[in-house]
């Protein structure tokens, strides 16, 4: 259906040629714009309706005072289902530290949270199918688990800013949530407004980049350099993804276009993870609680992990 909307606009209304460059690019843009935004509206509203508020405060209470492996499992799992605004990462970090949650577990949470979320998962299934979605989510959970463990091995406590240890958290006395359908409907509409308001630029940008890739990058060039035959495709994709930042949802159309042109699966997954997880704004926010050596280590470890994921999948695929 969305395919035909794209065809209608690009080839009928504007009379572009399906064999040129602009035609397929525009067809891709219109098709993905319609598809992703319909999915976004439906998913965000439904999630808002059914979600009993999964707040960071509750995550913290669920994780504290558990053995390490349980805490990490919860941190990774809850990180994957809890969307939180990156402006909350500082209070969240301090809140976790104050609760005595090991830093490695906190890092697991900070890795899982931007990389995997329910909105991105549903859109991934809609665009790339459930098998690829399962691969992405599975690999993401593994990276979050072992990434946090690896951070812990370097004793990152010594790099935490001194004031963080002084802060004491007050008792949170939030009133109980209103569980009636009317209240949840209102909450869901609010979510729709804030999330779409926050996401749409990333999604349009992602679709635009995907469309340019789809229309203008020659397939022969892609197959030669990014087809998975060369080892350097994966690190190149990861390094390119670090300075680039898009929301996990925004990077999906780019991945779609890359796969469509024959970029190797592992290379594409590594690129998606790198774009969604590592970003300069996020690092600058975290810098307020932890010093540069820890952040540099965080980047290096994650980049290595994404490369392993990429090479692993490329190797399995061949």
């Amino acid at each position: 259906m969305f395919d035909s909307i794209g065809n209608l606009v690009a080839y009928r209304l504007l009379n572009l040629s399906p064999t040129g460059q602009l035609g397929p690019a525009l067809q891709f843009f219109v098709m993905d714009l319609a598809k992703i935004f319909s999915l976004l509206l439906v998913v965000i509203y439904l999630m808002g309706l059914v979600r009993s508020l999964m707040t960071p405060e509750r995550v913290r209470d669920a994780i504290r005072q558990r053995p390490d492996w349980q805490a990490r499992g919860l941190a990774v799992g809850l990180g994957a289902v809890t969307p939180f605004c990156s402006c909350s990462s500082v209070p969240l970090f301090i809140g976790f530290v104050e609760a005595g949650i090991p830093l490695g577990v906190t890092f697991s949470f900070l890795i899982a949270s931007p990389m995997i979320n329910e909105v991105a998962v549903v859109i991934l299934i809609g665009i790339l199918g459930w098998q690829l979605t399962a691969l992405y989510v599975g690999a993401g959970l593994l990276v979050a688990w072992f990434g946090g463990l690896a951070m812990q091995a370097f004793r990152p406590e010594r790099w935490v800013e001194g004031y963080v240890w002084q802060i004491r958290l007050g008792q949170s006395l939030l009133p109980e949530n209103d569980r009636s359908l009317r209240a949840r409907h209102r909450y869901a509409l609010g979510e729709l407004r804030t999330l779409v308001g926050r996401l749409w630029r990333w999604v349009v940008l992602g679709i635009g980049v995907g469309a340019l890739f789809h229309g203008y990058v020659p397939e022969s060039w892609v197959l030669e350099h990014l087809g998975g035959d060369h080892w350097y495709g994966v690190p190149a994709a990861v390094l390119l993804g670090i300075p680039l930042y898009a929301n996990a949802t925004g990077v999906i159309p780019v991945a779609e276009a890359m796969l469509g042109k024959g970029v190797a699966l592992g290379t594409t997954l590594a690129f998606m993870m790198s774009v969604a997880t590592l970003s300069l704004p996020e690092l600058l926010i975290l810098r307020r609680v932890i010093r540069w050596p820890a952040l540099a280590l965080f980047c290096v470890l994650l980049a290595l992990a994404f490369m392993l994921v990429g090479w692993g999948f490329n190797w399995i695929a061949t």
């Binding site: 508020l53 301090i94 802060i167 958290l169 007050g170 949170s172 006395l173 939030l174 209102r186």
Partner: protein, 78 residues
């Protein structure tokens, strides 16, 4: 006079919340003392990790999202 504080590190959602409360007070013709709190230690002192959060007369009433218009009107009138 009612004292309302908006807790948040200064992100856009905190700004929206602050403006919504100021506007609601103006419409209701109620005078309130409205303050932005960006100090992280104070924010966490209320047990809040997700912002924006709202404190009315030293009591936490909301955290983690932009509040709905009814909620805002309720705080202003009280």
């Amino acid at each position: 006079m009612k004292r309302i504080q908006v807790l948040g590190s200064g992100c856009r959602n905190c700004e929206i919340t602050y403006n919504a409360i100021r506007e609601a007070a103006r419409q209701a013709g109620v005078e309130i003392e409205l303050k932005k709190v960006t100090d992280i230690a104070t924010i966490l002192g209320y047990g809040v990790m997700s912002t924006p959060a709202v404190v009315v007369d030293d009591k936490l009433v909301h955290a983690g999202s932009i509040p709905g218009p009814d909620q805002v009107r309720g705080w202003v009138k009280g």
